[in-house]
Amino acid sequence: MPSVCFYFQVHQPMRLRHYTVFDNDQRYFDDYKNAAICRKVANKCYLPANRLLLKLIEKHRGRFRISYSLTGILLEQLQMYSPEVLSTFHALAQTGCVEFLAETYYHSLSFLYSRHEFVEQVKKHADTIEDLFGQRPKVFRNTELIYNNELALLVEAMGCFDAVITEGADHILGYRSPNFVYRPKGCKHLKLLLKNYSLSDDIAFRFSNRHWVEWPLTASKFSQWVNAVNGNGHVVNLFMDYETLGEHQWEDTGIFEFMRHLPEEVLKHPDNNFKTPSEVAASYEPIGEVDVRHMISWADTERDLSAWLGNPMQSNAIHELYRLEKQIKRANDEQILSDWRRLQVSDHFYYMCTKYFSDGDVHKYFNPYDSPYDSYINYMNVLDHLQRRCAGSSIQAVPRPSHADVSSMSVAN
């Protein structure tokens, strides 16, 4: 009896403005561009998708269940630029069929560089989610599904999580199937949920590809693939970016129609059901242990960290960033701390990737810069300014309107 477990990642980076070595102010972010993109994606994806899923949940009276991971940096932007999206998320939370997952507030790579900062961000995120949606997250997913044994141990030691999520990468599973619950090596209670990347990517990447032999993908065809898991798996974990619905796969590809019919098609088989990650963890016992010594992620074909840390610029930028941690925290200035944390968003380092730059590909689609070099130069100029601000050296702090912290805001019903 396979359970279908949907988890959508919802995130928008806060893009930097063009900042040269000659600039000397504290406006690091491109408010105009961030607002425009946030509203565009809200209209193409967040609003129509939220409304559709809300309808489906109501229609299936508790049998259709989903989960989200919303980054803090996204929530801040939604509050500023598209508060109506927050209202629809709030409505989804009220159905009782939607689970919200935990992650680092700033969609950061902090686990790799500062455990202390990592724990603080996870806590800040959990507080925010609880304030907004009235539930404290019980399942953790790390930025870009970056994972190894140590991450699982730390998450278990934090004492507030039942499960952790990562990529069902071939090289960690070998012959084993991602369609079961596992135990991370060294953990006693924590459970591990693995993404079924094959079925997930059928929706997220291949759905509109006309050269794909399975095109066009219909809800009934997809449901048959789910049914085929019957007897050799407990759960089908469909993890993907929420922007798949309407933004990566445009409305005219039929992606919304596909989603509209998927629940009823899946539920036609009496053994199938939908579960959220917490429910999966509660329903199934681990069938084995998974040992992940090296870092994995859900990115590119390599499923490693090379998209963020593959070249000397990326590694230099991130080391310089975390080297500032003590200094930043000693400064005891909310605005400085917030700016430093916003610079931790993993996208900044993704933009500096030279891996596929020569071929120009998916990386380019998400990149506001013409080249990885431009992105590094811009980032380093901002970081340099932040450092000087922090050192309090001769730069006069200019007061600017501070963006309200999301954790203290209210949502209209």
Binding site: T20, V21, F22, M313, S315, T354, D370, S371, Y373, I377
Partner: protein, 438 residues
């Protein structure tokens, strides 16, 4: 590759410029690189170039002249590895990069020198085919007449002319022999003179392109100029990118001594087209935030003195060094010293120099108004007029070693993919298309 209808190797009558070791810029480098690669493909090339007449008077510079070989007027290559190339020279004061104005100045100078020396040189004047004392346009026509005379004794399938001064010769040779004409556009009057276009030069270029069966441009940037400003029909214009002759260093550079002072290099002719003033304005901005930098302008040109003055005016005279024209080993040396190469060209049809810089492990900033920015990804790009951004990028490269390292490593690798062999193949396939009976 490179066969004619009968399956024999194609023979090209090529009207070109400059051969080593006397190369003054990208045009000569391109002619040499392309011809060498064609030689390796087995294409037979008769390479025709003007023989500089100054060589008879100016003795401290060793120039290619009939005296350096035994049989005047015709000789095999001085490069002994060129087996399919025959060189023919036509006595003429034409030079790559000459303008009608510079031509007149130079001619007066050489006539004055001749008068001073008072020597009777008439013995060498026999092959000149008449008086060359007129202006440049007359000389270009005379060059065409001489080329036709030369072509009559040659066997070839196609005529290939490089840049505007040889277009009339190409047109004339093609007309007389009935062979197809290819003109190769390395630069246009719009690149050289901005909007102050010399109408006569423009007309010569336009006629050459119109009469040609194919127009080859060195970039899409230039292709669009050829189409939009010369009204040439797009299907006739093809892009063949230049390559780079690999002789870069693998060993040097990495272990170079850490110098306290950084060096930013401008290398090229100091002319309006190359944007020297933007380089200096950017230098001024860089020096506002960094002190340990020197700027080197290597090259000569009609804006050289203006640039020296401008540097002084900007108050950065002590930070800018002018080396004059560099060649051979000196170029290598300056590359080894440089931390960064900047090409701020206002309009650059291609731009071989940045490829050479990368080949020498020097990272580059290039203007977006250049053909080479179409083929280089691992370079920093700026609009030539945006001195603020140019300075921003210069500072970043000098300040952040990881940026320099990544640019250098990827750039050096990327340059290796740009080969003259590919350019020669493309030219050969264009010849083949022209030789197929319609």
């Amino acid at each position: 590759m490179g066969r004619n209808e009968e399956g024999e190797h194609i023979r090209v009558f090529m009207l070109g410029w400059e051969f080593p070791p006397f190369i003054s810029g990208g045009l000569g480098t391109a002619c040499y690189g392309l011809t060498r690669a064609m030689d390796q493909l087995g294409v037979k090339v008769t390479f025709v170039l003007p023989k500089t007449v100054e060589s008879e008077y100016v003795t401290h510079v060793k120039l290619l002249s009939p005296r350096s070989c035994k049989t005047p007027g015709s000789h095999r290559s001085t490069d002994c590895d060129l087996t399919n190339v025959i060189f023919k020279t036509i006595s003429s004061p034409l030079q790559a990069y000459a303008t009608p104005e510079s031509y007149n100045e130079r001619l007066e100078e050489s006539l004055r020198l001749r008068a001073e020396m008072g020597e009777n040189q008439t013995g060498d004047d026999l092959d000149r085919g008449g008086d060359y004392g007129g202006d440049m346009y007359r000389e270009i026509r005379r060059y065409a007449t001489m080329a036709v005379r030369l072509a009559r004794s040659e066997q070839f399938d196609v005529v290939h002319a490089h840049d505007w001064m040889t277009y009339p010769a190409g047109v004339a040779v093609a007309a007389v022999t009935g062979k197809p004409l290819v003109v190769h556009v390395h630069s246009t009057e719009f690149d050289r003179s901005g909007e102050h276009v010399n109408q006569v030069v423009y007309d010569i270029e336009r006629e050459g392109m119109e009469r040609a069966h194919k127009v080859i441009t060195v970039s899409h940037y230039t292709r669009s100029i050829v189409i939009s400003r010369y009204g040439i029909s797009p299907e006739k214009v093809e892009v063949v990118y230049n390559g780079v002759e690999r002789n870069g260093s693998w060993s040097v550079g990495e272990a170079s001594i850490k110098r306290e002072e950084k060096l930013v290099l401008f290398l090229g002719r100091i002319t309006m087209q190359k944007g020297p003033e933007y380089f200096l304005h950017a230098a001024k901005k860089v020096l506002e935030v960094m002190d340990n930098v020197k700027f080197v302008m290597a090259g000569s040109g009609d804006l050289m003195y203006r640039s020296v003055e401008l540097a002084a005016q900007l108050g950065i005279g002590h930070k800018v060094l002018f080396t004059g024209f560099l060649r051979g080993d000196d170029v290598r040396k300056i590359y080894q010293m440089a931390d960064l190469y900047v090409m701020p060209s206002v309009s650059e049809p291609f731009g071989i120099a940045p490829l050479e810089a990368l080949d020498n492990d020097v990272p580059v900033i290039i203007s977006k108004q250049s053909g080479v920015s179409e083929v280089l990804r691992h370079a920093l790009k700026v609009d030539f007029w945006d001195v603020n951004e140019m300075a921003n990028k210069i500072v970043a490269v000098l300040r952040y070693p990881p940026l320099q390292m990544t640019l250098r490593n990827h750039g050096n690798f990327e340059v290796r993919k740009l080969r003259w062999k590919d350019a020669a193949r493309q030219c050969a396939s264009i010849y083949e298309q022209l030789l197929v009976p319609a």
